[in-house]
Structure formats: C-alpha cells, structure tokens
Symmetry: C2
C-alpha cells in the first residue's frame, strides 16, 4: 500500500519562506525555544487549501515530526475541521514559529515587528495562492494574528468567514489537574466550537466531504479526535507519530535540563 507523504515547502513562494526564517535575533531565546528550530506548517502548500487554521506554537511532538498540530491539539483540530467537511484541502500555520517558553513569552512578543512581519509574509503567500473559504483561529494569540494581518494592505483585500475558537488544549491548561474543572471546560469549549461551526458551515462552498453539520456533545467522542493523515507528514514517519497517543515529553530535573530534552517513547503495543 502506497504511503503518501507531505513534500513540505518545496515550491515557491513557500520554499523561500522556509529558507529565510527569523532566528533568535527576532524570537528571543528567553521567550521561545529557538534551539528546536522553526516548524512552519501542516497541510497543503500546493494551492489547493480552502480552509486556513491558525494555531499558536509548536509543542514537543511537533519538534520531532516537523509539522505543526500533530499532538493532542492537532487531533482535536483535525476533528473540528472534519465537521466543516475538510479532510484534505486545509492548511495550518502557527502564530509563532518556535515553541513559547514561559507563561508570558507569547503575549509579550505578539506584536514584535519581526515576528508579525514574517507571519504576514506567509499569510500574503497563502491568500495569493489559494481560494480560502474560511479561517479558524485557535485561541486569542492566533485570533490576534489574523486581526493584525487583516489590517494590512493585503489583508484588507480578503474577508473570508472567520471564527476565533477556544484553543483545543485550553481545558487542560486552565484546569490545573482538576478533573471536574477539566470536564466543565471541555464542555464549554465544545459549546464554543459548536457556535463557530454553526456560523462557518453554511458558508463553505467546496468542502472535501459535503454533508450536514453534526455538532459536538458535551464531551469528545472517540471519533472526534482524528488521526493526523499520512499525507500531512514527511516521508517514512512512523504511524504512531500521527496517532492520538502521547509519545513525546520534556524530561529533566531542572527547568534548564527539561529545556534541553525531548524524550520519545514509542506507545505501548507498537513494538
């Protein structure tokens, strides 16, 4: 059976963008894990994207798979866009090229000109090359990214349907290990997502999989966390790196040690 894979940013204008990314002079190392390199995207860079998703920043598993939104947030996002009818014709970029370090790194630097300028080059290129029918922003910083670009000369030329939704792992971040609170926050998030879906779904003209909108209930069903497609990742990447199982962690006895570490564990049952 053929294993499709994602060629990555090999064609212009994305090849040049991937060659000319900002480094630690633009993304300060005290606020971003620049040492793990930039992670640019997931999805179609061949002009066939019709849905744009803006995420926040890459986590551990993204640093290994070299594609964004492949971890828990990615699986939930994959389910969200499936409800809009997309299983192929999407493109995802992040607010930040590098993983945010510390509580305030993202908000402190969200308006830094070098960060905004490079991200806006991607948005310019995406809208020049694709017929984008809708934009979904995951969380406040992603929404701010979109609003910032919308006010540029190029941004003013485009006004696709847009929804700012609760970030897919906000419930985990905000519940601090309290399972009751986690359940409440997931329920609230899914209600928020249902609102966005109700707004966007009627405005999608060319979904990959047409059909009626099936809203979320109060919890995630198993089928609503969708495996990352093989055609979204580099050639030869093992299947478990696309699975909903956690396989990458930052391990260490100090903050400094954790920052230097990513520990990969093949999920049980694979070997």
């Amino acid at each position: 059976m053929a294993h499709d894979f994602d060629p990555g940013p090999v064609s212009e204008p994305f090849a040049s963008l991937a060659q000319n990314y900002p480094g630690a002079d633009v993304y300060p190392a005290n606020s971003f894990r620049v040492e793990w390199g930039p992670i640019f995207h997931r999805g179609r860079l061949d002009g066939s994207a019709r849905l744009l998703v803006i995420g926040q920043d890459p986590a551990e598993s993204e640093s290994i798979a070299r594609r964004i939104l492949v971890g828990e947030a990615g699986h939930r996002t994959q389910g969200l866009i499936a409800k809009l009818g997309f299983n192929h014709s999407y493109l995802m970029i992040n607010t930040f090229l590098y993983s945010v370090y510390g509580q305030t790194g993202g908000t402190t630097h969200e308006n830094d000109p070098g960060i905004v300028g490079y991200r806006n080059q991607w948005l310019d290129a995406i809208f020049a090359a694709n017929q984008i029918e809708a934009v979904v922003a995951l969380g406040q910083l992603a929404s701010d990214s979109w609003q910032t670009w919308s006010q540029t000369a190029n941004g003013k030329k485009h006004s696709p349907p847009f929804a700012h939704v609760t970030h897919p792992t906000q419930p985990e971040s905000a519940s601090g290990g309290n399972s009751t609170k986690l359940r409440q926050l997931i329920e609230a998030m899914l209600a928020n997502w249902n609102q966005a879906l109700a707004q966007l779904h009627p405005q999608i003209s060319n979904p990959d999989t047409p059909g009626p909108l099936v809203p979320y209930g109060s919890t995630f069903k198993q089928a609503e966390r969708v495996e990352i497609p093989e055609f979204d990742v580099p050639a030869g990447l093992p299947e478990w790196m696309r699975s909903p199982n956690n396989w990458a962690d930052r391990v260490g006895k100090s903050a400094a040690a954790m920052r230097r570490n990513i520990t990969i564990t093949v999920p049980s049952g694979v070997v």
Copy 2:
C-alpha cells in the same frame, strides 16, 4: 542568511520509492527497528549526484533527522568524501532501510529477496538518473549490497570505480571500550581509507572541489570530521542536529524499554 534545505524524495522516481517502502512483512521486527520508520537517503536526488556512498543502517540521530549518516559515522564519511573532492554532488543510501536490532539481524537477512529487491530499485533509479563516477561502500554489508546489484541486468551495465572501506564506526564497535585498541583500529581504518582514496581519487573527473589528494594521518584531525551540510536536511532542522556532538541516545532499564526510547539532549552551549 538563507537556510538551504533538502526537499527529500519529492520527484520521480524517488517519490514513488519513498511511497512504496517495505514494512515489517519484509523487514522482520525481531531483527530491525521497524517501529521508527524507514530512513531513505542523504544527498542529491535531483540527478546531480556523481558519488554514491552505500552505508549500513540508520542509528538514533538518523531516526530524528530523517536522513541517513548524520551521526558520528556521517561526520567521518563527510570528511572521507571531501578528500575525493565532493561537498555537494553526492548521494548516500543504506543497505537497510531500518535500524538493525541485535548482533546478527543484518547478516541473517542481507539476502532476503524483499530487502534486496527494494534496495536494487533505488540503485536502478540512481544509476538511471545520475552520472555516477565512483561508489564507496562502508563496511561488508554495504559492499555485499553493491556486489549483489552489480550482478543484476541493470548492474551489469555500470562499472564505476568502486571501493569497499572499513565502516567509519567499526573501531568503536570492535574495541569494546579499550582506548588503546580503539586508537589502533582507527589508525588501521585510516590506512584502509587512504588505500581507497589513492585508488579512487585519480578516477574522479568532475569533483566539486578539485585538488590534490591529502591522505589521513594516524588519527582523525578535527577538520576531518565534517559537519553535515544544511542543504542535506529537512527545512528548519536545528543546526546542532548536524553537528559532530552526540545528541540522541537509546535510554532505558531493559532492552525492551531502550527499544521504545530515543532521548534527545540539545548539546551544551546551544541553549
């Protein structure tokens, strides 16, 4: 400064080869670490390769960088091919797509038809698309791979200068932690490499960097372990993944735990 990167196997015939790789039905999981996925190559897949290097199998760092020969063996190999005048126009493939597990996994399966057949497809494609001026095999299994292909119908059409050299980390494998023995084995390996260089160097018509052959001494000079070029790895990969520093290990309290683990540690001084 632009960061060149390697697009990988995005064009034919290599795209189809990367889509149609053999799995655990061909590479038995008791002899190969199939769970980490196949790693195909390093170097040029655009028809510009003039030197072919055949290695053995991917190690830890290769499983992360998704290119072969990026660790210690890779840095030594990069220095070896530099002495032949190559810093860009080369292509490296391995005898095995997956990391060998156990002492005898490689020799047991080296003649398995599925393993040989797929590797021969790569060799067919490489020789059809490139003007290969010389072939270097790293170690016995790599040499056997070459001899096996040479006896096929396609292989018989090509007879480039060929050298079988001692595998670049054979001294470490064979010295068992004995530093005197290690020094002796490195000296012997470099003498072996000098013989191969003396044979091949006069036969290279179109090196990237023409010049007289500078043989090895009895130890590696620092400049003889050459950093993996940025244009050999995927977009955005951090620089330290191409450095001569070790950054990936298999960690665990049992063989089973080690098999499931790769622990990445950013080298000191980077963060």
